[in-house]
Amino acid sequence: MSYVLRRLAQTLFVVVAVTFLTSIALRLMPGGEQVLIGLTTGPGATPEQAAAKVKELGLDRPLLVQYFSWMGDFVTGSWGNTWQTNQAIATEVKRAMPTSLYLMVYGQFLALLLAIPTAVWSAYRQNTRFDRMASTSAFGMLSLPNFIVAPILVLIFSVTWKIFPFPSFYRSLWDAPVEHFKAFALPSVTIAIPLYAGYMRLLRADMIASLQSDFITTARAKGVSTPRLLFVHGLRPSLFSLVTSAAVNIGALMGGVVIVEQFFQLNGMGRLTVESIFRREYPTVQYAVVILALIYISVNFFVDLAYAWIDPRVRASRALG
């Protein structure tokens, strides 16, 4: 119980700190209120019209009042509308979230799908040709920024071979599954490439250490098959770093792949946040930030739980308090 309360308190602190700092940062952007008013009203506004807009948006109130008013709206679910397009902010966020979720899930899935077996075999066959090729290619992939990878993929698979669409206009998984997967294919691969490289290197290192453990030697001596040795006995204790890294990346992928989103024209949380910053849509940015913060916190919580599942010693030590 105390653990839960402690986590709740941490969550609340993080949310308040992050959103308050964001609130300040937004108001320190170049141009200040003037740019915001101009974006909302256009370049011909008289001082009276500009003042009226300031009042309408509540910007004439002290920052703390604005912040707590926003916090109240957030908690009660009255998120309001965007200042320029009059779209319900909740709707905009609901529209962006699935895109980011799909990108994150598909990117992670592809990366792990390739990284785990590659890393395991690479560790098992350390210093062989396969290991060297895998490691070298991973270094190469880590070095390639996604704004280089994306255009190359588009040139080959969209423009030349016309297999996948570009841009990747969002299609619902339930309404048009084939188009959906085709739309997300190239962005997911773009995201997955550096992820794969990082995961592969991480897991390989941990696997090498695990495979040198006594229990592995014992298992081998008892005649355990190689696949079982690698993927059951060896892999499980090697997953800590990978799980931690993947968990951190969940949050990063939800809001941080704005370059991929921008390039492929996918309106995910990253693009929504960045566009809202440019447009000085203060409430939208704050909502996006708090959602991303909550995702990070939630993911970390579940990762902590996952540790206990992965390693029974963690369960035991927690039980002992």
Binding site: G44, Q84, T85, L155
Partner: protein, 583 residues
């Protein structure tokens, strides 16, 4: 004037004849341009830029009509087209509140009709309006609604609708600036189908103002409903060839055919969808990959490719085009740009032909003034330096420094677009060679870009503007009454305060004498060249490329029998209702 030619790229090798129409209307100033903005600004390099604004003005000299469908080929109704546009407006779509640039007008002109349209005689024709009639001194205008037209929601289009829209326009930020001299708008008591507009001073060019944003007619019922429920603002209701279906900011704007459109047989398409793809090269790739069916582009490299490509249908719009240029803030306190010698030195130092060739692929024609060849006021030789003359530039700077000793520093603002940055770097290099001691380049995010100009918070600024039909369309860009102090929003971005220029603009506004208007516009052109208020780059060219089964847009006959011209006063805008798809 009969229309000729075939815009279609059915025949390999040649592009359509350039459509040089003068009568451009500039859409209402597209202020903040949503962030989507999209638009890139260029000086000489033929990419998208912002600014809009505008009013329509008089006709220009010679006009080349838009293309027509090949003889013997009948357009086919049906189908859907997805068009890639350069930006998302992300606006409420109410006429008085829109911050509209090219992409915005390209979208919304399918939902809204405008009261008047530009014709191929360099003048205007009534379109949604049955007539627009002045009194003797052009201080009272009677606008009569076209009979039998209803809005998409069934609301009748009548005098009350016109009055409602124009009254709201008066209160709008951008439209209000255009309608500043309107003192009264009311329904004609003698005719419920007419509205009467009273202006404070003779305004002969008033009908041109009705071609663009000011003249967009929205349903009064929808306007009232969206007053109360603001989320409705992004679901526009007009009288246009297409009916609103869906809008997702920064993603798509979809519309369906208006089966009861008053201007039959249009539209041909069943469905039209606009997708903002801000990067010109990505837009090109989207067409190549088949994800979109059509696009517009101002990118010189793309245009050069499309001109010789057999893989697309291609047409161009060059009429009433905007001019890419470098905008100077000429009345900033303490700025060396207050001095004509410094301004003209920058003009002499800039190698515009080299820029146009290197960066713009020589697609656009070099500009010697604000008016393109088909616009009124164009001069073959305005007196503006068209070739680099570094010796002259250095001499002018030396003269200035002899009188005002000390270093000269300039800040050059540009967008975050790589092309514009490259142009800025060239300019920086040349101006330093001319004797400017320091030239810093400030890259500004797109969303803030136009506002930086509007607030006057700049010294030198890459820009694009001044398409149009009549000089009156430039009134608020150049008149001193629109030059607010730095820190206040103003449409006269460069804060030009020139009594001679004011007098010319005022005289033009009141005049209906075509010959005198021509003279005035040419005087304005020469004045700009003499004073070097701006550094002219090139005249915009807009390319429209489409899949080979998508027939490019054409012109059409207006209700009065004249033919419409492309652009409708906004550079690069065409009539999607004329597009059709081969089955």
């Amino acid at each position: 004037m009969s229309q000729s030619l075939t815009p279609s790229r059915r025949r390999p090798g040649r592009l359509l004849a350039a459509l040089a129409i003068s009568a451009g209307l500039i859409g209402a100033a597209c202020g903040g341009d949503d962030g989507g903005t999209s638009t890139e600004t260029t000086a000489g390099a033929g990419t998208e830029t912002t600014a809009a604004g505008g009013t329509e003005t008089t006709a220009a000299a010679t006009t080349v009509p838009p293309p027509t469908t090949e003889a013997g080929i009948e357009p086919v109704a049906g189908g859907k087209v997805i068009m890639g546009i350069e930006a998302d407006t992300s606006n409420p779509w109410r006429p008085a509140e829109m911050l509209c640039a090219i992409a915005c007008h390209q979208v919304i002109r399918n939902i809204y009709d405008s009261l008047t349209m530009p014709n191929d005689e360099g003048s205007w024709s009534p379109y949604l309006a049955e007539s627009v009639t002045p009194n003797d001194d052009f201080t009272v205008w009677t606008i009569t609604a076209r009979d039998g037209v209803t809005f998409h929601d069934g609301t009748p289009f009548d005098g009350a609708a016109i009055a409602d829209n124009l009254t709201r326009g008066q209160a709008g930020i951008t439209t209000g600036a255009i309608l500043r001299s309107v003192t009264d708008v009311s329904v004609d008591p003698a005719d419920p189908m007419s509205a009467v507009v009273t202006v404070s001073a003779s305004w002969a060019a008033f009908p041109f103002a009705l071609i663009g944003q000011v003249g967009y007619m929205a349903s009064p019922a929808w306007l009232a409903a969206s007053d109360a429920e603001t989320t409705l603002k992004t679901a526009p209701v007009g009288t246009g060839p297409f009916v609103y279906a869906d809008y997702k900011p920064n993603e798509l704007f979809r519309m369906t055919k208006n089966p009861d459109y008053w201007n039959a047989p249009y539209p041909y398409l069943d469905e039209l969808e606009f997708r903002p793809i801000s990067d010109g090269l990505n837009r090109r790739d989207a067409l190549s990959s088949g994800t979109i069916d059509m696009l517009h582009t101002g990118n010189g490299q793309n245009i050069a490719e499309y001109r010789v490509s057999d893989e697309v249908n291609y047409t161009e719009i060059t009429n009433n085009g905007e001019t890419g240029y470098t905008l100077l803030h000429v009345t900033q306190e303490g700025s060396p740009l207050q001095d004509r010698r410094v301004r003209c030195a920058l003009a002499y130092a800039t190698d515009n032909p080299a820029l146009n060739e290197t960066i713009g692929a020589s697609v656009n024609e070099l500009a010697n003034g604000p008016f393109s060849p088909t616009q009124i006021g164009y001069l073959e030789d305005s007196g503006f330096p068209m070739e680099q003359d570094m010796a002259m530039a250095q001499q002018l700077i030396a003269e200035y420094k002899a009188e005002f000793p000390g270093p000269i520093s300039l800040a050059l603002a540009t967008t975050q677009d790589q092309t514009n940055l490259t142009i800025a770097q060239f300019q920086q290099q040349w101006w330093i060679e001319a004797g400017i001691d320091e030239v810093t380049i400030d890259q500004i995010d797109q969303a803030s870009y136009i506002l930086t100009a509007a607030f006057g918070d700049f010294q030198v600024f890459q820009w694009r503007n001044h398409g149009g039909f009549d000089l009156d369309q430039q009134y608020f860009w150049w008149h001193s009454t629109a030059a607010a102090d730095v820190g206040a929003l103003a449409l006269n971005f460069g804060r030009i305060k020139d009594p001679a220029l004011d007098a010319l603009l005022d005289e033009n506004r009141a005049s209906d004498d075509p010959a005198r208007k021509q003279e005035i516009a040419e005087e304005v052109n020469r004045l700009f060249a003499t004073e070097c208020y701006n550094l002219w780059g090139s005249y915009s060219t807009w390319g429209i490329a489409s899949k080979t089964n998508v027939q490019p847009p054409t012109g059409f006959e207006l209700p009065d029998g004249k033919n419409v011209v492309f652009g409708a006063g906004i550079s690069g805008v065409f009539y999607a209702m004329t597009v059709w798809v081969e089955p």
